[in-house]
Symmetry: C2
Subunit: 293 residues, 2 copies
DNA sequence: GTTTTTATCTGACTAAAGTCAGATAATGTG
DNA sequence: CACATTATCTGACTTTAGTCAGATAAAAAC
């Protein structure tokens, strides 16, 4: 562990030096860094000023001043949003768009300069390792938190989940045929709905529902495709088990379809044992349970 | 290539966000970032002010002012160096050392916080990928440039090279027994000595020496242990071949010992063909040559 | 022994980055 | 309709980070 920490710190030193260069793409454009960042963030499609402020985490007065300056340089146009005339919508002018394109080009060039001295094989290795670091850093940023099961976020996760099932199961999947898990079943104190999210948005979910005295059922365990293989399912399952303990449950059950092999492996790895069917739903082929310690 | 660039830019975005957190270890210490950086760079052993200035690349007046401020906070002591009373030596006080230790602890903690949410396997993968990225970024920073063959840097490289040979060859290696390559042989226009270096220092070398009209000989090809496997030998060899072309040579020769299998692979990969012995040195077992196009 | 160079220090200055307290106008709430 | 809230804007202010032109003292070069 100590040596791992040491390696992360070494990585950090090297990478900040190198990617500092990438950041400097914003410099040397005859304009303070803050203004360039703003310009680049506005992008070709324009943006509400408020969204810009939130995204960059800046003071409203400060943003206003920066926009004023970019406006004087004829890089942007500000217009009131029609639906709410307090809101301002900012858009790049032709000149501003040209500047955006140029910054984008310099960014590409900075990235190419990193690859240029390397041979083809080493390039591929570097890019692959970078992708791996990025995925795992993303994984380490994920937080798992309760979410009202009726919220739009929860509903979005469930739609994703159902889509996966519909695609995986031989004959498709219709939630109406399966045993229900209504929002009220997934609400404390009898149940809960958890969402795993990065700063970008939700990447997984899982639910716990009561199934009789002292018994809980795990449902709706889903991890977004690009986020698989990062131990997120494992973490959601662990969080659900902790919740179950807090609810005073001592037995957890779940069922699953034979096509969901990763899920089965996950359950077995976490101490779930296969048991005879405890329901007669049309979709599951395997039923598991685990006694909580 | 386009997709590789895109991946580097994605990596950059994620990593700067995440390692920005690491950088912020210096913040929240009730002290501007510049002062904290200086304090941390001074370190437990103290440092000459000049070295500090060079290392951080700061203006001398600015450094002086920062030091004055840290002195007022009783974090550092300044003393004149005995050997040259113009030089100032800066040292942490007990209080400064405590602050250093605290910053160090926070750095460790920031790194641990990245690892904490991950399982053991994913931790290992992240650290390994980080090490790979770091090594390859280092490789991409390497520059290859001519160096006077008599310089202390060149001599240092040669000592490293001889040590490797002494270790690898069954019966040891004594440069006195081998065919010589004196500094004047490795000096333009008849020869050249190239050094590959990172910002940290030299990590490889290679030499070209005249061996008759139109013929050159590659000698002293060395890559430092930790820098192997990054294509550096390949790049040095390529640079030597370009030099040879510039010198108007049309045939390159080299010899090598049977224990240096990576080197042999490198030569074959680059179009060198094994030929009968062209010398009777005691150490080589294989002789190669290549016609320059 | 004079001149030049080097290392540091000081004072004066600037630009960038950001904070804070209102002002203003539009919108939402009871 | 009164009142609170929201989004933006403006002016006044501060801190941080850094540059530049000498001043000074020690050391090196001639």
């Amino acid at each position: 562990m100590c040596s791992q920490v040491e390696k992360i710190r070494r990585f950090n030193r090297t990478v900040t030096r190198r990617t500092g260069v990438l950041r400097d793409r914003f410099l040397g454009r005859n304009r303070p860094l803050g203004e360039s960042r703003l310009l680049f963030e506005i992008g070709p499609d324009g943006m509400e000023v408020r969204a810009l402020r939130v995204k960059l985490g800046l003071d409203s007065g400060y943003v206003s001043r920066l926009l004023r300056s970019l406006e004087r340089q004829k890089m942007i146009k500000l217009e009131s949003a029609p639906r709410d005339r307090r809101l301002r919508y900012v858009r790049l002018t032709r000149l501003g768009l040209a500047e955006y394109v140029e910054i984008d080009r310099l960014s590409d060039k900075a990235a190419e300069d990193i690859l240029a001295p390397l041979g083809e094989q080493h390039r591929a290795r570097l890019v692959a390792a970078m992708a791996e670091v990025e995925r795992l850093l993303m994984a380490s940023e994920i937080t798992i938190a309760p979410e009202p099961a009726g919220s739009s976020t929860a509903q979005w996760c469930l739609r994703q989940y159902f889509e996966v099932l519909d695609e995986r199961f031989g004959g498709g999947y219709d939630p109406a045929d399966a045993s229900p898990a209504d929002p009220q079943d997934l609400t404390p104190p009898s149940g809960i709905f958890l969402v795993a999210r990065t700063l970008e948005g939700p990447v997984g979910c899982g639910a716990l529902k009561s199934a009789g005295p002292g018994i809980g059922e795990i449902k709706r365990l889903w991890v977004a495709g690009p986020a698989r293989g990062l131990g997120i399912g494992q973490r959601i399952l662990g969080a659900l088990e902790n919740q179950a303990r807090d609810f005073g449950l001592n037995l957890l059950r779940l069922d699953t379809n034979r096509t969901l092999t990763e899920a089965q492996a996950l359950y077995r790895k976490n101490g779930y044992r296969e048991v005879p069917p405890f329901n007669d739903d049309p979709y599951p082929h395997h039923w598991f349970e685990k006694h909580l310690g």
